[in-house]
């Protein structure tokens, strides 16, 4: 039996996949991007973060924005898990696997970026050994690592259900038993995830000397804590749907029903509506209370084109109001163009939100005699960020080719 034939035995039951040559070609492209990123990462590890475009004003930049964005967009995993296993929306079983894989990619990718982003990677474990319990970042470190562990546990049965691996009794049993306890992990994941999505938002809200980001809150959590949770669960499902659609487009095969996708986006849209309401309230309170108390006006928060008000308009109006309408009006949601565009806007809004909280917060000159500075990521940051995207692409491609991600795939492609 030739290798090409043997390789086909590893496909999920009853599906067809593109030729091995084509697949390897695709992987090669991704690997090239990955390799370039690895070179950049080596530069960073050998010479220091000075090779990036960050500076004294912008200690946070593309990397942190990217981390926050992918973690929010990867929220589909925990939220779908919560709905599927705890709330028992059974239909979601047809997309949960994809959501979990996306979540895994997003979180592991974020961790990889973080190892580069900290100046002393060898000391990364200090976060666990010498934690400052008051720091939102400590909460993030603990919750992200714990949740990544949960994600790994959730991914393991998926991998072991691979046709050939599943023939090994041990792996088969592990996969089976994991499935039984999956609701427990889904619950745990939802708990952990909520907290770190929140603490990521909390990270900014607690910056009481940075009027752009500072927010009042409830108990120890600033409002951004809750807003980040809401925005993550609003965008996560939509991101899952977008990835699914992209995969369908690329493979030319239908992987889930439109009905499932529609359900996911309806959930996302609903959450976005809730988020939107609170976000508007929060913004109002920020403009009328926090800023004047700091002696600042709304207008002072913006500067030039790059930090202009258009960005806020885009985030709060174009990327909240429009997608909410598109996703919650059934007639519109039924039309793919509206649904997908709404998903794109939804995700874009969350990316902008993470960007402005990361970059505009520190770009705003708090000292009156200081001035606005601009930041542009350089090649090293882009390369490493693309490396993570390529890594995600490779994992996704392999998962699609060999793992039974889509229960409906066989039926839909008959």
């Amino acid at each position: 039996m030739s290798f090409i034939e043997a390789e086909k035995n590893w496909y999920p039951e009853g599906v067809t996949r593109c030729g091995l040559g084509k697949f390897l070609g695709w992987l090669t492209i991704l690997a090239a991007v990955l390799a370039f990123g690895v070179v950049a990462a080596l530069f960073i590890f050998i010479f220091g973060i000075g090779v990036t475009g960050m500076d004294n004003y912008f200690g946070f930049g593309l990397w942190i924005t990217f981390d926050l964005a992918v973690i929010a967009l990867g929220a589909g995993a925990f939220f779908t898990g919560l709905l599927r296993y705890i709330i028992r929306i059974d239909e979601l079983k047809d997309i949960i696997n994809l959501a979990v894989i996306i979540g895994f990619i997003c979180y592991s990718g974020a961790m990889l970026i973080l190892t580069m982003d900290i100046g002393q990677p060898v000391r990364a474990w200090f976060g666990y050994w010498h934690p400052n319990v008051h720091s939102m970042l400590t909460e993030v470190i603990f919750c992200i690592t714990c949740y990544l562990t949960v994600l790994i546990i959730e991914v393991v049965p998926l991998v072991f259900e691979q046709k050939q691996l599943n023939k090994i009794p041990l792996l088969h049993h592990i996969a089976h038993n994991f499935h039984v306890v999956m609701p427990l992990f889904a619950g745990l994941g939802a708990f952990l995830s909520t907290f770190h999505q929140g603490s990521l938002g909390g990270m900014y809200g607690v910056l009481f000397a940075r009027p752009y980001a500072f927010r009042e809150g409830f108990f120890i959590w600033p409002w951004t804590f809750f807003l980040f949770v809401l925005s993550a669960i609003a965008s996560g499902p939509c991101m899952t749907v977008l990835v699914c659609a992209l995969m369908e487009k690329m493979t030319g095969r239908q992987l889930t029903t439109y009905r499932v996708k529609s359900l996911m986006t309806k959930i996302g849209g609903t959450m976005l509506l809730i988020y939107g309401v609170f976000k508007y309230l929060d913004t109002w309170a920020w403009i009328t209370d926090i800023l004047p108390r700091a002696g600042l006006t709304f207008d002072q928060m913006f500067y030039g084109l790059i930090y202009g008000k258009w960005l806020m308009f885009l985030e709060l109006v174009v990327c909240i109001v429009i997608p909410v309408i598109f996703l919650l009006v059934p007639a519109l949601r039924r039309r793919p163009a509206f649904m997908y565009w709404a998903c794109i806007l939804n995700c874009l809004g969350i990316i902008i939100n993470r960007y402005v909280f990361t970059v505009q917060t520190i770009a705003f000159p708090v000292m009156p005699f200081d001035s606005w500075m601009t930041y542009a990521p350089n090649w090293a940051e882009w390369a490493t960020t693309c490396m993570i995207l390529a890594y995600g692409g490779i994992v996704m491609s392999l998962a699609y080719r060999y793992l039974p991600l889509f229960p409906q795939e066989v039926r839909l492609n008959k």
Partner: protein
């Protein structure tokens, strides 16, 4: 937050009279050599330099000939309620010692730069690259402050080593190390300032000059309304300078 408005028996404070600062930069240079900051060949990119003490140029925004200029030296404010301390995930920075100097422990710092994002004064600096001294110049490294590798955050510490030295001198001389006379402990920037624009001492000790100075009607602190409670005071008799010490709405008075 752990460090919110902690009070200590001693409160080291710096009072800077902006009206007396000529902007010569002697304080910056003294700070760099005292604290082992390597010289930088291209230091005109101010977004990458390590300037624990940084002198800002202030303008009154008016046109010639009504224009005025002032210079504002900016060390670390050693805030009473530091925004940087509670955010550090690994307790590399803390405000837990008598005297109230915000510590920064280089071997503990993992370099996440969250504290830099938290500090509105830009007092915190990051080692973007390993420090490099020109060949031989490393012989002028002082024993006062440890050298830092790349990848950690560093900042002004009021020349804390000088406090240690003053306490040791008091111990050997048999005097009270916890009740130092005015002037026994002075940071390098204060010592070298040619116009004597800076005074340093215990803000709580009436025998120290800064006690009165910090209570002067001309004294103010940077960004006071953000509740950071800095231990660095500025003085000026010029209204426009004072107004630049904080943000004010158009209808508010400084």
């Amino acid at each position: 937050m752990s460090a919110a408005h902690q009070e200590f028996a001693t409160k080291w404070g710096l009072v800077i009279d902006i009206d007396k600062c000529t902007g010569c930069g002697a304080c910056m240079v003294a700070c760099q050599t005292e604290n082992n900051i390597a010289p930088e060949k291209d230091a005109s990119n101010k977004l990458r330099t390590l300037t624990w003490m940084n002198v800002y140029e202030l303008k009154n925004g008016k046109e010639f000939p009504q224009a005025e200029v002032a210079f504002l030296p900016r060390p670390c404010m050693q805030c009473g309620n530091p925004s940087c301390v509670p955010v550090c995930p690994v307790v590399a920075t803390d405000k837990n010692e008598d005297g109230g100097i915000v510590s920064q422990i280089y071997p503990r710092c993992i370099g996440c730069r969250y504290c830099m994002a938290a500090c509105p004064y830009h007092s915190r600096y990051f080692g973007w690259f390993d420090p490099v001294w020109p060949e031989g110049m490393e012989k002028t490294i002082t024993p006062f402050t440890s050298t830092r590798p790349r990848g950690v955050v560093e900042k002004c510490h009021f020349c804390h080593h000088r406090w240690n030295q003053a306490k040791d001198a008091a111990r050997i001389a048999g005097t009270d190390p916890n009740n130092l006379p005015d002037g026994a402990y002075t940071p390098a920037c204060v010592e070298v300032c040619p116009t004597g624009a800076m005074a340093f001492g215990d803000l709580k000790n009436p025998k120290h000059k800064v006690y009165e100075l910090s209570r002067s009607k001309y004294a103010f602190r940077l960004l006071e309304r953000l509740n950071t409670d800095p231990q660095v005071y500025y003085m000026t008799k010029r209204d426009w300078v004072r107004r630049q010490g904080d943000n004010y709405l158009p209808n508010e008075k400084a």
